[in-house]
Amino acid sequence: MMKSVIKRMLFIAAALTLALAPSAAHAQIRFDISKAPTAAPIAVSALKNLAGDDDHSVSAEFDRVLMRDLKLSSYFRIISPKSYIENAQNSGYDIGQFNFGDWSSLGADFLVKGAIKANGDSIVVEALLFDVPQQRRIMGKRFTGGLGDVGEMARRFADAALQSATGVRGPFDSKLAFVSTRGGRFKEIYTSWLDGGGLFRITDNPTINLFPSFDSGARHLLYLSYKTYAPELYLVDVGRKTETPIAPGLGQAVGGALTPDGRIVGAYSRGGHTNLYLLDSAGGEIRALTQNRAINVSPSLCADGSRIAFTSDRSGTPQVYVESLDGGDARRVTYQGSYNTAPAFSPDCKKIAYESRDGGGFQIFTIDAGGGNARQLTVSGSNESPAWSPDGRYIAFGSTRGGRSRIYLMRALDGYVIAPLTEGEGNDSNPSWSGWLGN
């Protein structure tokens, strides 16, 4: 038994060493988040290597992740580094140590500069965001960690840059889970960063694995598997890489979701009827949430844990309902369309995204959690399984718009499709988007 796991604790410390006074920062908000943004041109300079050697691999990794995330936000457009005039290694990286004219002449509204230095076994990355036209420093972060943490530093800096530019923290320090048939496999569960990095296969069984569901900090993941040929939910401890079968003896497991505090809402079928149950994290039944002879599936928890949205065909067709987790009557939310399913509560619990049948395919809509104000977000291809970003600005979803099924990212505000989040062979579906990993 090889069990010599070396516990090496790496810490990223992001000290706000360079913050401006709040009044000055307030003037920097460039975007009104209630409106669709016009992407602002931003230059992302290489990090200055303070060790003075020619190894720029850390800088390249930081900038690659940062540029990808800034682009995915749709608030920024990256000015090609090929056009940069200044050599980052030959100039300073803070106010007064470089020439803003080198960046304004490229048309940059924003600029990221910074530096990296080794500190024993760890590295220190300092990154700064500037407003080029106003020649001001907007925000700065200092990160300390190992070489393996550089991507995480970049994700946190991207989130902070969005916070500075829009007033709302960005969503990239979070994880995506999804189902994929890549590699010629049956449906397996994968996790990755939003930028596609860190792809990791959770399951390894040639049967059927479906419906990954993260808890808010991505510490646990629930999914459904047929791996023993009797479908069950499994609760994965992501850090320990272990899992526990959830087997409450309520019938065939059909699906489920994690509550923000780590309990489980599971759908179980018995006698042809499928009902929802609140379970503890070991699978013990706390109470039935629905008790009828219909189909009740696809639970989605509101982030404060007070309510669930789910699909039921109790009215004769599949429709979205909302119910308190304490019990109480379910309230029907959708009335337009004959097939509405896969509801997903927005993080502020005010809206529900769902898919609605449209001819042969499905389109994604949002609706107020109390009903009303239904808005169609997608139009092309068939689009399913919406999942909100932790900041509520984006929705990941599965779509066949490009042929095979992939996970795409769109703005929740106007349905603008930003980019596919997955690529390669196979079909990708069932996205789940965790909350922020850092606090």
């Binding site: 902070a160 059927i208 479906l210 272990t242 009740n296 699909t311 097939y339 896969a342 850092g438």
Partner: protein, 190 residues
């Protein structure tokens, strides 16, 4: 108004575990198709106090299920056991008239093979969400079980499972294909 950081001291979380995990695939040797079952846990991965390693594997009990057929590449080949499939209308689980006759002949076979057991699989076409379709397939399997029950087959001899839309026997997006996929399949074991 604007918070450019959260918490007075900034961020600080352990990162080592996740970043290491990201690069390490948890590969537990997959059993060869047709290999024996009942592999016990422990072939790799840390075994926590309450949890088993990820990635264990196994073959089905009967070996003739649609999932087994999908795994050995024979799903949709037309091979049938002694009992015939029945089919359903879109988003419906009502036993149709002609399918009642099929169920009657299935019941006769089961009566003449009193030691046999049957697992009834419910399947759906690929339109609609996966989760709703698993519930719909469960309803379809139950409809056949109830029907066979009224024909005198003991319910202890019958089990049900739904595969939803996961195991289509026909993969084109046509009415004919969809109709073939909306089915109950009967897997007999002795």
């Amino acid at each position: 108004m604007i918070r450019t950081h959260r918490g007075r001291d900034g961020w600080g979380i352990e990162l080592g575990a996740l970043t290491r995990a990201a690069g390490v695939a948890l590969v537990v040797a997959a059993l060869a198709l047709g290999g024996c079952s009942s592999k016990k846990n422990g072939a790799g991965g840390a075994n926590g106090a309450n949890g088993s390693p990820l990635g264990e594997n196994g073959m089905g009990p009967g070996g003739g299920s649609s999932l087994d057929q999908a795994r050995n590449g024979t799903l949709g080949s037309g091979a049938q056991g002694p009992l015939s499939d029945i089919h359903f209308d879109y988003n419906d689980s009502t036993i149709r008239g002609q399918d009642g006759d099929i169920l009657k002949s299935n019941a006769q076979w089961l009566e003449s093979h009193p030691n046999s057991r049957v697992q009834i699989e419910g399947h759906c076409d690929d339109r609609g969400s996966e989760e709703y379709n698993i519930a719909l397939g469960a309803r379809r399997a139950q409809a056949a079980k109830d029907y066979l029950s009224t024909l005198g087959i003991a319910s202890e001899r019958m089990s049900t499972i739904s595969y939803g839309k996961e195991l289509p026997i026909c993969t084109e997006e046509t009415d004919d294909c969809w109709a073939q996929n909306r089915r109950d399949h009967f897997v007999v074991s002795q």
